[in-house]
Amino acid sequence: MRWIDSLALASRCLRRRPARTLLTVLAVTLGATLLVALGSVASTAGSRIVSKLSNGGPGTAIRVAASQADSDQIYIDDLHAVGPKPITEATLNSMRRSPHVATVIPVMAARILAVPPPFGSTAASTPGLAAFPDTMVGVDMNQAGNLPITILAGRLPRPGSLTEAAVTESYLDHSGMIVTSTLGTQVEIAEPQAFRTADSLNFRARWVRAEIVGVITQQVGSGTLLVPIEQARLARQWALEGVDGGDVFPLPTSPYTGMVVLSSSLNDLHAARQVVTNLGYANSAPEHLVASVLRYLRVVDIVLAGIGAIALGIAGLGVANALLAAVRERRREIGVLKAIGARDRDILRWFLLEALAVGSVGGVIGTVVGLLIALWVGVSVNTYLAEQGVQSIQFGDVSWPLIAAAILGTSLLSIAAGIVPALKAARLTPREAVAAA
């Protein structure tokens, strides 16, 4: 008997008992649904927690300062600096050569004076709207997705733009503005330069006006303004064209004020951090915290996988029970088939294909339902978070390995559950089965 004939026979037999088939498929569906829903929610929650620990950026990010690391740096997550150490192009290239490093993103900061609107001489006299000294942080906006930046409203400045900026909540505090009214307004940025006259040290500024396109939180560097690195580079160049302003405004000594190093994976985080530390740079990464949390998440994963496995086990028992009932019910048919020449393996294949059909159909339906439930959970959670004024969570990512594992797993499980009934059927002697009539 060919496979296609066995499949056709199995299909007919399944349709003969629609209620039993439906219940068996439902059992498998429930198992697959639970597995996929729990897997999706756990996966999303896990990545969200790791992301949160990394302040919105990837968990593999290491923040490196233009500072000398102290001897304990590698053992602690926080920055332990003992003195300045310039970050140069050579430093960046050296980091990029490490096999544990995925990418290196330089950070350039410049000291500025920020002037919120309304602009003009009266602004300084308006309570709550005083110009304030701050730092402007410049990064490659093309790499913003790899940085610990969270957008609260609006968007990030376009890469290379010299007229756009994003601000942190600290800027809102200084300017007395709120998130919604800030977007679309402009900020005046004074980039200072020291110069010496005949008798004293003086300061002048290069004035830039930028549109505020987003409100963010960021852990890239200390500063209320986030701009494309090109803007920060112009400010640094302008400052270097002046003279050393002493303690008030010293000339920048490091080409870059910091960098963010992304390790290839969470498993590479420690090794990448060692590379950074061995080069002598102070750095910080939630390495130990993430490792500790990941251990707990792993425990949660195991518990959830256990629940899913129990559900699938019950589904498997359902398949086995349904097939055992089918074998009892079809003893005469099995006997007749054997009497007209069916081999043991033909009977075995017939029942295993029935099990496979039930398992794969239940697996596909269960996977789809599981994904929908995960999506529904995401929507419910986000609705709650929105009510609480907290940033929403990105749900609904389709995990193809999880989908493949669910469908393949339920199919294989059903086949495994069908082995005993199928063997029982295949081993029936034709005489015994015919006599059962």
Binding site: R12, C13, E333, V336, A339, G341, R343, T429
Partner: protein, 245 residues
């Protein structure tokens, strides 16, 4: 010869068909067979010696429990004898492994059961096609072959009907058509008329005999019915697991 309806015969050309024929007679020597063990031990067959000639028409009669069906199941390869020699043609059935025994049933034997043995979920044609699917008959030829067999037993217009929609006689004719799928050299009929009224029973016997005559196959019929047994060329009576002299 072609059967247009039960008992109606006309010339047919068998040249294009592969015909499996018995090479020699059925020979049983010292066959013993029992079921269970200890207190449940039941001697079903006791020292059976029997020769059935190739192309013969034999009836086995006797009371219930005499061992008729057991003997039929041994000859049909449904089980192996526990002692003695059983040869069908040049094949020693006691020595065949499971797969070869299945191949023997598939190619050499055609079974006709009292309970018809049709799968209720399949139509008459599909029941025949199922038997064809076990053989090497190509899928694209099955339908035509099944229709030919249904025509041979006079059930062309019942091809789409399921067993539940057929009368007892019609079901048995479908079962006979299915038994002929591989043009077997041996047809074993276990109480083929047991569930039929007298008229249907005679028509089924006519059909079986026509097949026997037309195809030259050996026909062994197990029956309680003396009238049925009377139609055979040779009759054997069994009692308590023995064939009476």
């Amino acid at each position: 010869m072609r059967l247009i309806g039960p008992g109606v015969i006309r010339q047919r050309d068998l040249a294009h068909r592969k015909v499996t024929r018995l090479g020699s007679a059925i020979r049983l020597e010292g066959i013993n067979h029992w079921y269970g063990s200890g207190r449940t031990h039941v001697q079903a067959l006791c020292d059976i010696a029997l020769d059935i000639p190739a192309g013969g028409y034999v009836a086995l009669t006797g009371p219930s429990g005499a061992g008729k069906s057991t003997l039929l199941s041994l000859v049909g390869g449904l089980e192996r004898p526990q002692s003695g020699r059983l040869r069908v043609g040049d094949q020693d059935l006691a020595r065949l492994d499971s797969d070869r025994l299945a191949a023997y049933r598939r190619t050499t034997v055609g079974f006709v059961f009292q309970h018809f043995g049709l799968l209720d979920l399949l139509s008459a044609r599909e029941n025949i096609e199922l038997a064809e699917s076990l053989s090497a008959i190509p899928a694209k030829l099955r339908r035509a072959h099944a229709d030919e067999l249904l025509s041979e037993v006079g059930l062309t217009d019942r091809a789409h009907h399921r067993p539940g929609e057929l009368s007892g006689g019609e079901r048995q004719r479908v079962a006979i058509a299915r038994a002929l799928v591989n043009d077997p050299g041996l047809i074993l009929a276990d109480e083929p008329t047991g569930n039929l009224d007298a008229g249907s029973a005679m028509r089924i016997l006519d059909l079986l005999e026509s097949v026997h005559v037309e195809r030259g196959c050996t026909l062994v019929v197990v029956t309680h019915n003396e009238a049925v047994a009377q139609r055979a060329d040779r009759r054997y009576r069994m009692e308590a697991g023995r064939v009476l002299p």
